[in-house]
Each structure stands twice: as C-alpha cells, then as structure tokens.
C-alpha cells in the first residue's frame, strides 16, 4: 500500500513539475506580450490614435478561438482569458496616454 502511495506521489510530482514549467513560460510570455502592447500604447498615444480597435480585437478573438479548437482547448475559456488580458492592456494604454499628456514638453 505504501509502495502504491509512493508511486502515485511520484507521478503527481512529475505532473506538477511540468505544470510549474508551463506556468513560468506563461508568465514570461505574458510579460513579453505586455512589453509589446506598452510599445503599442506609446505609439498610439504619441500619434493620437484611438486606444481600442474593435475590428482588430474581433479578428483576434476569431483567430484565438480557431487556434484553441485546433489545440483541443475550450474556445470559450480562451476568449474569457483574452478578455482579461485585453482589459489590462486598455488600462495600461490609458495610463501611458495620461503619463505622456502630463509630461513636460521638450524644448526644441
């Protein structure tokens, strides 16, 4: 019985190491995504472009749902996840625009 428990425990530990590695990868990919969207935020703010592009978001959701289905992942979950990420991006963009608007103008 103890041997069986030890086998189960080892199997569980193995799965958890994989999950921990994947989670680290997700965190670093998300960090890189926000670095990139922050650059987009600066580009949009400097050039007075609108923060939200509904057409672009629609095509992103469609693509992600397609990718999710192909990867055996629930497209509803991926859409919900994407919505959480985009909400944070919009908040970041608003913060960037405010920061740039309140920064002292450079003398030329």
């Amino acid at each position: 019985m103890n041997e069986i428990n030890s086998q189960i425990s080892q199997q569980l530990s193995g799965y958890r190491r994989t999950i921990d590695n994947i989670d680290a990868a997700l965190v670093f990919m998300l960090a890189e995504r926000f670095r990139c969207t922050d650059d987009v935020g600066v580009l949009k703010a400097v050039n007075s472009l609108p923060a939200v592009d509904a057409e672009r978001e629609k095509s992103q959701v469609e693509r992600l749902r397609r990718l999710a289905t192909g990867a055996g992942l629930d497209p509803e979950f991926v859409e919900a996840f994407f919505t959480v990420v985009v909400s944070q991006v919009v908040r970041n963009h608003q913060y960037i625009a405010q920061r740039l608007a309140s920064a002292p103008k450079q003398m030329s």
Copy 2:
C-alpha cells in the same frame, strides 16, 4: 504626412505580428497545461484523492507572483490570471471524476 502615416502603420503591423505569435504560444501552452492537469484529474479521481490542494495552490501563487515581479509584470494581474485557470482546472477535475464514477466498471 502620408509617409509618416505609412511608417506608423508599418510599425503597428510589426507589433501586431509579435502579439499574434505570442498569443498563439499562450494558447498552445495553455492547451498543454490542461492536458497535464486533466491527467492529474484522472490520477486523483482513480485514487480518490481530493480535487483541491490548498497548500499547493498557495505555493503556486507565491511562486508566480515572484516570477511576475522579476519579469516586470503586475503580480496582481498574474494572480487573477492564475485564479481563472485554476477555476477551469477544478471544473475539469469534477467533470473527470463524474465521468469515471458513471463509467461501467471493468470486469476483471
């Protein structure tokens, strides 16, 4: 003026290609994570282990917040993201346990 617009548009397209690549990576990493947690769900159900391990979740959150801070990512955002993922994992585990419980027993 048109040349400037074209430059901005090209820059934006470049950023968007990066974001789309990262999003695809995120979807595939999430798919792999759920494949792994589904295996954990089967292991737990077959061995009548509890679906939730509060101690494990606590240490995961602490580690992810640490990784997020190191990567320049808001730890609050990462914790919220993790909560969404884990809620889905628990739903999947409950579904797996129900499915296994209602499956006809194999004759030995």
